[in-house]
Symmetry: D2
Subunit: 359 residues, 4 copies
Amino acid sequence: MRIAISTGGGDAPGLNAVIRAVVLSAINRGWEVVGIKRGFSGLLGEDEVVTLTKESVRGIAHLGGTILRSTNRGNPFSYPRRQPDGTFLPEDRSDELIENARQMGIDALISIGGDGSLEIALKLCNKGMRIIGVPKTIDNDVSGTVTTFGFDTAVNTAIEAIDKLHTTAESHDRVIVMEVMGRDAGFIALHSGVAGTADVILLPEIPYDIRKVCDKIMARDAAGRHFSIVVVAEGAFPLGGAVHQLGESLPGQARRVGGVAELIAREIQDLTGKETRSLVLGHLQRGGMPTGYDRLLATRFGGAAVRAVAEEKWGYMVALQTPHIVAIPIEEALRELKRVDITHDLVQTARASGISFGD
Amino acid sequence: MRIAISTGGGDAPGLNAVIRAVVLSAINRGWEVVGIKRGFSGLLGEDEVVTLTKESVRGIAHLGGTILRSTNRGNPFSYPRRQPDGTFLPEDRSDELIENARQMGIDALISIGGDGSLEIALKLCNKGMRIIGVPKTIDNDVSGTVTTFGFDTAVNTAIEAIDKLHTTAESHDRVIVMEVMGRDAGFIALHSGVAGTADVILLPEIPYDIRKVCDKIMARDAAGRHFSIVVVAEGAFPLGGAVHQLGESLPGQARRVGGVAELIAREIQDLTGKETRSLVLGHLQRGGMPTGYDRLLATRFGGAAVRAVAEEKWGYMVALQTPHIVAIPIEEALRELKRVDITHDLVQTARASGISFGD
Amino acid sequence: MRIAISTGGGDAPGLNAVIRAVVLSAINRGWEVVGIKRGFSGLLGEDEVVTLTKESVRGIAHLGGTILRSTNRGNPFSYPRRQPDGTFLPEDRSDELIENARQMGIDALISIGGDGSLEIALKLCNKGMRIIGVPKTIDNDVSGTVTTFGFDTAVNTAIEAIDKLHTTAESHDRVIVMEVMGRDAGFIALHSGVAGTADVILLPEIPYDIRKVCDKIMARDAAGRHFSIVVVAEGAFPLGGAVHQLGESLPGQARRVGGVAELIAREIQDLTGKETRSLVLGHLQRGGMPTGYDRLLATRFGGAAVRAVAEEKWGYMVALQTPHIVAIPIEEALRELKRVDITHDLVQTARASGISFGD
Amino acid sequence: MRIAISTGGGDAPGLNAVIRAVVLSAINRGWEVVGIKRGFSGLLGEDEVVTLTKESVRGIAHLGGTILRSTNRGNPFSYPRRQPDGTFLPEDRSDELIENARQMGIDALISIGGDGSLEIALKLCNKGMRIIGVPKTIDNDVSGTVTTFGFDTAVNTAIEAIDKLHTTAESHDRVIVMEVMGRDAGFIALHSGVAGTADVILLPEIPYDIRKVCDKIMARDAAGRHFSIVVVAEGAFPLGGAVHQLGESLPGQARRVGGVAELIAREIQDLTGKETRSLVLGHLQRGGMPTGYDRLLATRFGGAAVRAVAEEKWGYMVALQTPHIVAIPIEEALRELKRVDITHDLVQTARASGISFGD
């Protein structure tokens, strides 16, 4: 048996722990493992395919990043091919990929990735490739799994930042608006905001009214609390207003990360007259040493993925359904994005503790 | 409505976050809250009862310890009373406690504690007192709840220690045996050992054979890995052997924390000839700033406890049944101690990755 | 003896440790201590003056912020007074301040602050007030002292961020430009950049050539290192170019923090074609729990300030001249801003290790 | 030019950062670098000698341990040689070592180590070998340098532990005695104790009277502070009493780490009747990721060592004489052990803040 493993999409702390668990579990079964570099690119001859040994994965469980590297590009169904005039046109190279995998003697692929990568995996499966998925998302927005690795680390990074801002905000009577990841789902903002005892939390799931936000800040001021911490998910948007357009970078332009926080900070300063600062956590949330929770979850995902290969559950992905790791059809996970349930006890408790969601 | 809150038993990171959530949620409902100092002692006139305001719980969510202080003594059903000769005899002061609570106008009590405190709470309930329980255990050994606050922090503290020992062990070709908490349940050892990529993990649930432990260490040595990390729960014991006697301190003696690690380290050094060191994490696991996970869980427990009071679910305790916080009869939670399920996927994955459980 | 203490200017981790050491040292001498809230404002009747006891400073040594709060405004020599038309005009209220202090029975003031506060302190001294200064600057730009508290914490915060960015940058072949504090002096950028093994470090002391920066990035690329980390001090500026104008906020506007990083990121992306991201650490550098180094230095400063009061060294400030804390004339410290000595062994070693300063 | 580098003695965070700076600085000068594994053993054919490239030192600056591994044995002047009967007798193999180095074409050696390794280095120098020393000691007890790398990390590890113990001690009215490293010099105990606001600090430099220790604890108790934290250096000893005998392990025995803390805890519990616990930090102090301070100092030492080679300063060691790294004769550094100056301002401030040294 010879299996392959690849990591696609944005960075998430825990990727290396998944790879390590897959490699050790597979080798201990007597299998061979190869690593496909940079998502699917390695299978298109655009990057390396390397043999992974126990030595390859030594001491990596606690490291951020991925030893296989990753990419947000490289969809084999619309792979960018350079044209004579220097521009790029998408091309379907999926058959080539499948043929390459066959020629390399790859019996099965464990594909670690977000919804983009999982969708590609499913389409390759439908064309006959034998794939097991491992969900990866910082934002915790994949359905069918209680959570994914990387999320707990991102939340703790955000909490640590809120803790740091708290003392400064309090000492200097400031409002600080901190922007965290979450384009469609506000889990990072909700979890870090409650744990960090923010005063206002703005989520994509609850459109906000800036006046309600300012009411909260001024009510605190009146009660002698002259500072406030606002945690905002990058996808939060005003009631009745359009979703903030953040967008991807155009070719040749540095992508703008953040924007919501600065905008909201200006509005708060204008409306309340209080000194207001903004901060965008950005890529700090994707990096660093995974927490214990994430190392464990990632390791369990890796071990379960190898068992799913042994059980030939092609087209399935591993998922946490507490207290067990199960395998569910990738299709099911992709059916809809998971978002914050605004009737959940965490939201109730947050409101009961006095946190405003700007609604 | 006037509710009381108390914290009993050993320390656990997150206690203050529970208290904060209870106080804010209750006050925002228009209730009054009083804090009973040092377990049930405050209700026996042996310690203070203080009014808790929003101000009392400001900025405490991220602090370890408990602003209400705690104690391992003070069971009102067998309260130690000093005799004329200076010795102490147990005395049932439960009626006095109930009467005191009545006179203080306490309508309900939220009792945060481990199985000892929960058992007392249940007995007081059975005598007519209105109590809601909040489970607290570092060891994660309470049934009916996926986990409790403090556990994640303890696991991360243990992982951090393993990470530190790893580099030294590797640089100096040493075996290091690290002892963590877990008298009856090996969750901390299992979780920290897997996340910290220990080589051997010894649990109360899997009696060990010291020769198997040494086999693993020597197999690694033969493969050029001249060091090993052994994580051992304090309650681990050898196959066929008796449980290690750790025991409580006799009066006038400092209690011995640890002991298993040192014993195992000696046996390993004798049997393998390899330089072996031991370390007991001890109280470090109970202290410090709670992780994000624990702050959230503690906050959710606190919010849910207040809702349980409103719903008059006397004799119930809040519990995590992912993804919800529910209320279950305290009786059910006390029925049996939760222990590591040795067929769980985490144990399977650990074995598949090459970790030895000494069996 | 009755002394006062105040904290002015921006936040710096360690302020509370200074306050604690001053209060305990003074009270243990039998003195009284009062805390002036919000810089000098408390002495102008614009904010509180509170008695500080041992209880007031319990458990604060490891907390960020300042229990006395602070402000960047409130210079008594040009205090903003509201005019009938709602605007503010500066007014000299220094005599009033001195008279108020006299009436409160304040024998001496320990003034903790940056160059702004120290200058005010010196001017008040020259008018007869008895003041000891304690230097405070995150940027480490005060002369006469090897370093000040808060700097080590800020450097460690920046290093932690670089560590997080490193794995993501490497996994995803990115250039990441991280902006740290340092308007006039590049100590934070230099120290965090070297310790975090950045590839390029841009300081206010060494004007940069963006082509040299890109040369370094492309040389790494050619050597198979497809990512780079650029650490830039907010005051860095291009060779021959003007200093970046960051400026203070106009009234009614949220102040723009950062800007250099984004600008440089765009230039790099344009010139190299490599995907480039920017991040501004901002206020994270001012907050949080002080490191051991800063807690110690702050405590030593506090203890030394009380001894300086006993020795009546008015107009002096405490300073670290390793291994001793000494007292030097404030005047001397203010003579010139301390900046990075570009011939220092740290810069030499950085260059020798392959770090580019863009020159 | 072809230089060698080796690491000897106990672990210290920052070793890898020294190695990295040496390798990069040397290679960028066009030199070759070889790494001697396990102290001097590699030069006696008992372990490897490896070529170090830029690739060898990639991403190691922030890792604890040493990629060259280390050992406490292996003095070439009394190297243990196995006798026919299985015992070991010391043998002078220094000439063999020097000859081996010559044959390997090693022009100079950078030897990183504690006083043991530095002494060996000096003796080899006196026999004609060309050596530059880099001091390494967790305990900060090497003369001639303000501090060494690893010390700041150890202090921060100890402070973090004290912070954790604080909340538990306070919540549960306990006395906790924590033992840190420092056989002859109490720097770790003093620095961590002051920064962590311990109540009692016991150093090898100040013999303690256990009754004075208990007086402090009971005075706190009387003032309503029912807990106390005692930080004790492993080499602390009672007034008039003998130094605690800790000793090295006999062959075949696990060495006992700790002992002082447990002994003192028992005495305190006996004399005060207060529940007292002990904890030995042990090897946690030697491991883990170096702090920013230590990464910088280690990097500066590495860079300076290469410059010292270029300047042919044989028999010298690099040292921090703030703000510069200088080179001093190894002989001078070895003349006497550095110990805590008990008249230093840090000790004064500690006393002034109410800390007892048990005297």
